[in-house]
């Protein structure tokens, strides 16, 4: 278990601000945040490249704040791989084992294991400069895992790959983690990566960890406006909680939305665009929110269509392309938007 207690670090333009975080054994933890929020600095501080200005880092209860990187048994894979350019793939992978004076037989066995795990047997005699991005990535991960580290740190491991390779490698990473179960901290700015890979996600902004939770929690129950918009909740409003006929509603201007909440007074609410159903039929129901609205803009996005609506409040919905065609949606058209009361996430 790794624990960061009140860790602060200032490094040029980047800073970490009072980070408190616990990462459990065998967990795949993804730190998610926009570029320039100090995500790499967290990893480098955990790995021992920098000492925190304040706070402590514990590993299995032992304070490792002042330990040298070589004493931590924490492996690091950089976004640009950082393979040793003067060594071929075999020597790159065996580097850590050679330093530890591992017996030849063990080295061979470990190398074989990594080669099978990552499918890089055909690359062993090549030099890093002759490898593609994806191949370098595999070698870098093999080099990191071959020493059987307690923790694996991955700094934006997929950001330099093309979309297809990225998709495949994401699944592979998941498979590798399920197989070897090394505690992993992975940083990224891509929410999809986090959704696919993470057991838990930590969202960072401006050097602060602003929400930690499972992908479901972060995705459906964001705690702040920033997290809500970062995880793709396009419909975020400020409103006032009121009670109408024993039912709680949030008033936003002239619009009232039915909600389920314990909160009172001024709140933020968010609705995921894919939770909104569009229909031409007039439905009257008390279990759901029905808003009459006018189509403003239709933006194709791959197999989906993003529909911008005016319902007294600006509303964004995602529907399938086929659905949009069947409804003959066009700007100016009057339709109804329906979403469940449970789809309305209320937060302070």
């Amino acid at each position: 278990m790794i624990e960061l207690r009140n860790v602060s670090k200032r490094l040029g333009d980047f800073h970490l601000d009072d980070i408190n975080l616990i990462i459990n054994d065998h967990e795949y933890f993804v730190i998610l945040g926009p570029t320039g929020t100090g995500k790499t600095v967290i990893l480098e501080t955990v790995a021992g490249m920098y000492k925190p200005d304040r706070g402590q880092i514990y590993f299995d209860g032992a304070d490792i704040t002042t330990c040298y990187p070589e004493e931590r048994n924490i492996a690091f894979v950089y976004q640009d791989y950082m393979l040793f350019p003067h060594l071929n793939v075999r020597k790159n992978i065996l580097f850590g084992l050679k330093i530890r004076k591992t017996p030849q037989k063990v080295m061979e066995a470990q190398l074989e294991k990594m080669v099978t795990l990552l499918g890089i047997g055909h690359l062993l005699e090549r030099y890093p400069s002759t490898l593609s991005g994806g191949e370098q990535q595999r070698v870098a991960i093999a080099r990191a895992l071959v020493t059987e580290p307690d923790v694996l740190l991955l700094d934006e491991p997929l950001s330099a790959l093309d979309p297809r390779t990225k998709e495949n490698f994401m699944q592979e990473l998941k498979g590798i983690h399920e197989q070897i179960k090394t505690t992993t901290i992975h940083i990224t700015h891509d929410f999809n990566e986090a959704l696919v890979l993470a057991d838990r996600i930590g969202i960072m902004r401006k050097g602060k960890m602003i929400q930690v939770g499972t992908p479901q929690e972060v995705f459906y129950k964001p705690k702040t406006h920033f997290v809500a918009s970062f995880v793709g909740m396009e419909n975020i409003y400020e409103g006032q909680v009121k009670e109408v006929n024993g039912q709680k509603v949030v008033q936003i201007g002239d619009v009232h939305l039915r909600v389920l909440t314990e909160e009172d007074g001024k709140v933020n609410i968010a609705v995921r665009p894919e939770d909104i159903i569009l229909t031409q039929v007039n439905i009257e129901t008390t279990a759901q929110n029905v808003l009459k609205c006018c189509v403003e803009e239709i933006i194709p996005q791959g197999p989906l269509v993003k529909v911008k609506l005016d319902a007294g409040i600006p509303l964004v919905a995602f529907i399938t392309k086929k659905g949009a065609e069947e409804m003959e949606l066009s700007p100016g058209r009057q339709i109804a938007a329906i979403f469940k009361t449970t789809a309305v996430h209320v937060f302070k």
């Binding site: 492996a75 580097f95 330093i99 990191a144």
Partner: protein, 298 residues
Amino acid sequence: MQKQIEKPSVSMGTALSEQQINQVEHKKGHQKKFKLKNILFQTGTIGFILLLCLLIVGALSNVLAKGMVGFLESIKQPEILFSIRLSLMTSVISTVMCILVAIPTAYGMERFKLPGKKIINTILDIPLALPPVVSGVALLLLFGTTSFGRMLAQHGLKFVFTVKGIILAQFFVNIPYMVRVLKSTIADINPRLEFVGRTLGCSQWQAFFKITLPLAKNGLIAGIVITWARALGEFGAALMLAGATRMRTETLPVSLFLNMSTGDLRLAMAAATLLIAASVISLFIFELLGGERGMLSR
């Protein structure tokens, strides 16, 4: 109605075309002017390049032509043989000293946060800017007239008018070059490579010797070659500190100087030829290793 509309449009069309013709002619004139100016500029530049090359090649080939006459005989003369041996020995020793001192200096200057780094940098570069004769005088005073120098002399490290003085002079004049080349080489090596090495279990020493130093190989060789070539030709500082004594502190440049002074042109030209050959070969290797970029980038 239609005609009325068409007419002005036709006349406008002709008016435009006249204007256009004027513009085209004006443009053509302009283009000609530009072409002439550009040709003049390019020829002028190339002319300067050729002139400079001619000056260098002319001067050197003249020396080489004279040096080649009886070259084999000249280099068998005891005096030239002594100079070659002394030059080789002193330049190799001073170059090794430069390597040993420059590697940690360059690494420290590049990788560690030091207070007053800019000032230290300037201090380290001073011998570069100084005329070698002044460096020689400074060393002569330090090691010849101070109690520090006398103390060293008592312990066998006598630099004034000795071969050790030649080595020290070469070291003093050349160390900034070596530091510069190595600093720019190390700056080009991502410190994260060493850090990754450390996460894989290397100590700082191991990370340096197994990652940074092998990656600095080209820069190091370039530095060695340029330092050695400069040490071989070092004259001013060595002259001041070690003097120019025939068959004692007579390196190749000193031999050239002494034989020119006494009018023995054949020996002087032989020494000059050897120095030119060493310099040209070194320069070639230096360029091959991309050393110039490193030298000029800092």
